[in-house]
Symmetry: C2
Subunit: 193 residues, 2 copies
């Protein structure tokens, strides 16, 4: 098993970097989904712009100078129960709101496009202050964006429209259980596989 | 419009590098599909392992030492008519066969997994010698792998089981027309959008 982003070991996490913990929990969950044949969902590599490389041999290229690109799409995608899944995961230390500066305009357009094409798109947002992780379904996210001029989504909106994801041992963040609830009338994946 | 891999200009291609041309034609096609609201399919960035970075500022990180990882999944994925799409694109200069050394074991497993989960997976293979590009559907590819010990797929198998993709002006490689043929009884996407 060598899916991108699916092989981090928890022991390697820098605990000062909360962003890594959410990402790692999601990667571990995706790994669980793959090994249990529940879904195939992967973290997409961060796109980079390469300025300079060294050709070590005909098979080995060393990148000497490169930059991270601004992402224009979401971080995770894949397939679940035959459906296209697409989501972004973000954390905030804020108590009262999720700042929309976390999500680029291109990413919002991407999420909207996925919904229009019949895919399942959503956000996973971790409120570090409350130690709470929410799944906010794509249509509810887009609805908020279209009807509010604020540059943030209040915590209360997540309480009202979001679904809390409880941290478990394995899988750590069982977000597909919530997708089952929203899209498949609560039919759990265990029944199907 | 800033989808990864979707912004190459044809004028920038090194024509000595055929691999780039197929990739560029597919990227241009995917860009056409997005701008015409037909499908959302993207090239996934190549995963890299980063060894050393320089922190230029709080927002800028320069990668000083990194290596390309061996890919364990396919190059392209997305959504079309509500269906999950996943494919790999390869070229060969060989006249008589497509060498399977081009596709890693992990990628084969990935394609099989996608099919089992109800997705649409396939290969696009360009035979440079004949100037012919084929779409080989995932189930036909897996069927060959499982029933042959050869380390290559003969050109004749592509002639028999594959679908030729004609190069056009725009979109350059209209591979979804073939997906329509195989999966949607030839119903063209123009009718739906």
């Amino acid at each position: 098993m060598n899916y991108p982003g699916g092989i981090n070991k928890r022991s390697n996490i820098k605990y000062g970097n909360r962003g890594m913990i959410l990402e790692d929990d999601i990667n571990a969950t995706n790994n669980y989904y793959i090994t249990h044949d529940i879904a195939v969902i992967r973290k997409l590599p961060t796109p980079i712009t390469i300025k300079k490389v060294d050709y070590i041999s005909s098979h080995e290229v060393k990148i000497k100078d490169a930059w991270f690109q601004k992402k224009s799409t979401t971080d995770y995608n894949g397939i679940y129960k035959g459906h296209y899944i697409d989501f972004e995961a973000k954390e905030t230390r804020s108590k009262n709101y999720f700042p929309l500066s976390n999500i680029h305009q291109h990413q919002i357009e991407h999420i909207e496009r996925i919904i229009n094409h019949g895919g399942i798109a959503f956000l996973i947002v971790s409120f570090i202050y409350y130690n709470e992780i929410f799944l906010l379904d794509g249509p509810d996210f887009i609805h908020y964006i279209k009807n509010n001029k604020r540059k943030s989504i209040p915590y209360t909106y997540f309480q009202k429209k979001g679904y809390k994801i409880k941290l478990k041992y394995n899988p750590r963040l069982d977000y597909l259980k919530i997708i089952d609830k929203i899209y498949f009338k609560g039919e759990l994946y265990e029944k199907e596989f």
